[in-house]
């Protein structure tokens, strides 16, 4: 939603608790445990949220979106049926998943996994290169934000070769791609009225970029 107008002020909440309702903690923990179990990848969770109708996406809370996305992935991946979720009881045994998050694993299991993958080709760009982001509008998951499509920027960092969310989310494997921080001048993104002191960077996978 980068660059959209009309959402109003940011409202910090003093002394905010980690969870406002106990169910939020359950959703967060369920999501971590199912991710650890290998039920799906984080990009499947993100893609399921992005497929929510806009009026639902914009009115649901953060953890409500997580819960809705989890229901989608559970059903789509055949881990339970919609009927089971509706009734609140399993009607058939579960499928085998690669592993299970047990209480003893709480330290190891919460460790963040690595997204590095073996490179398939040398990097196409180097730090300092001027690049142009592609003007692409896939209906599936992508990490190229709309406000940064078709823009000129400079490669500032190279983060190595990572699994490619656009492929992972639609079950096309890791499809490893080089990942770069690309920085844009404010006026390149927002026109002549932009804050002249503004620079914005995104992390862009190589397929999002072309030489400029």
């Amino acid at each position: 939603m980068g660059g959209m107008d009309g959402f109003g002020k940011v409202e910090p909440e003093p002394n905010e608790p980690p969870f406002h309702e106990p169910w939020e903690g359950r959703v967060m923990a369920l999501s971590r445990a199912m991710g650890y179990a290998g039920a799906w990848h984080i990009d499947h969770a993100r893609f399921a949220q992005e497929r929510l109708p806009p009026q639902v996406y914009l009115t649901a809370s953060y953890y409500q979106r997580w819960a809705l996305a989890m229901e989608t992935n559970v059903v789509e991946r055949g881990l339970a049926t919609a009927e089971e979720l509706k009734s609140g009881h399993a009607l058939a045994p579960g499928k085998a998943l690669p592993r299970k998050f047990t209480p003893a694993l709480v330290r190891e299991g919460l460790k963040r996994g690595s997204f590095f993958r073996q490179q398939q080709a040398p990097p196409r760009f180097k730090v300092g290169d001027r690049v142009h982001t592609r003007n692409i509008h896939p209906t599936t998951h992508t990490r190229l934000p709309r406000y940064a499509r078709g823009k000129f920027g400079i490669v500032e960092l190279c983060h190595g070769c990572h699994m490619f969310p656009d492929a992972v989310a639609i079950n096309r494997g890791d499809d490893p791609q080089w990942l770069y921080t690309v920085v844009f001048e404010g006026h390149e993104l927002w026109g002549p009225d932009a804050d002249p002191t503004l620079k914005v960077s995104i992390d862009a996978f190589e397929p999002y970029l072309e030489p400029a």
């Binding site: 959402f7 980690p18 406002h20 923990a29 934000p145 992390d203």
Partner: protein
């Protein structure tokens, strides 16, 4: 609090969301995918152990130890991994330094990516539409919502966390803290100062 604790509870006062989440947990438990006791442990870890004190310790160390600061800015994942006492961050942490010339702000416009291991769970405002939409276009307006006003000529650098890289801001050390211990300095480091929507507390205001 696991779903089990409530089996005999009257459901009439529960919201639709609570009921749906309970149904989801019950089904995934009965299917053998999750263990409610493990869910309790995960919730507790984020309620009690994984929070912004982890990041504050890293910042305070960087303020005291020039070699560590250099290592942190060169490769934050590696540098933080050398500190045994903070939770493990994985491979993709980047620290960005505030200077008198440049102020950094971190956002995720696409979802709400956030350095959980350094700062704990993100606050609601970080996940909200106003923050996600405006920060990349009108960061000074967003900072004003936090009561923060920067010099007109300060360069503002917004880092949109669009991949699995996670960013933490290394704020400037407040003046008047020479000879302070690392532990005392850590008390000045607020969560928001490591996101870029705030500054560290000034000496005398640390309580």
């Amino acid at each position: 609090m696991s779903g089990k604790d409530h089996d005999h509870h009257d459901h009439s006062d529960l919201s639709e969301t609570q009921l749906r989440v309970r149904a989801l947990e019950t089904v995934l438990t009965q299917k053998g995918y999750v263990d409610p006791a493990a869910l309790d442990e995960i919730v507790e870890a984020y309620e009690t152990r994984i929070g912004p004190r982890n990041g504050a310790a890293v910042v305070a160390r960087a303020w005291c130890d020039p070699a560590f600061k250099k290592a942190l800015l060169a490769d934050a994942s590696k540098a933080v991994a050398t500190l045994g006492h903070v939770s493990r961050v994985g491979d993709h942490l980047v620290a960005v330094e505030n200077t008198p010339k440049t102020h950094n702000i971190v956002v995720c416009t696409l979802c709400s990516c956030y350095p959980w291991e350094m700062l704990g769970l993100p606050p609601i405002w970080y996940k909200s539409a106003p923050y996600r939409s405006r920060t990349v276009k009108d960061p000074r307006g967003v900072l004003r919502d936090f009561g923060l006003s920067l010099a007109k000529d300060t360069e503002i650098r917004v880092w949109d966390s669009t991949a699995e890289t996670r960013f933490i801001v290394l704020p400037m050390r407040p003046p008047g803290t020479e000879n302070w211990s690392q532990e005392r300095l850590a008390e000045l480091v607020t969560r928001d100062s490591m996101i870029g929507t705030g500054l560290p507390k000034q000496p005398g205001a640390e309580i």
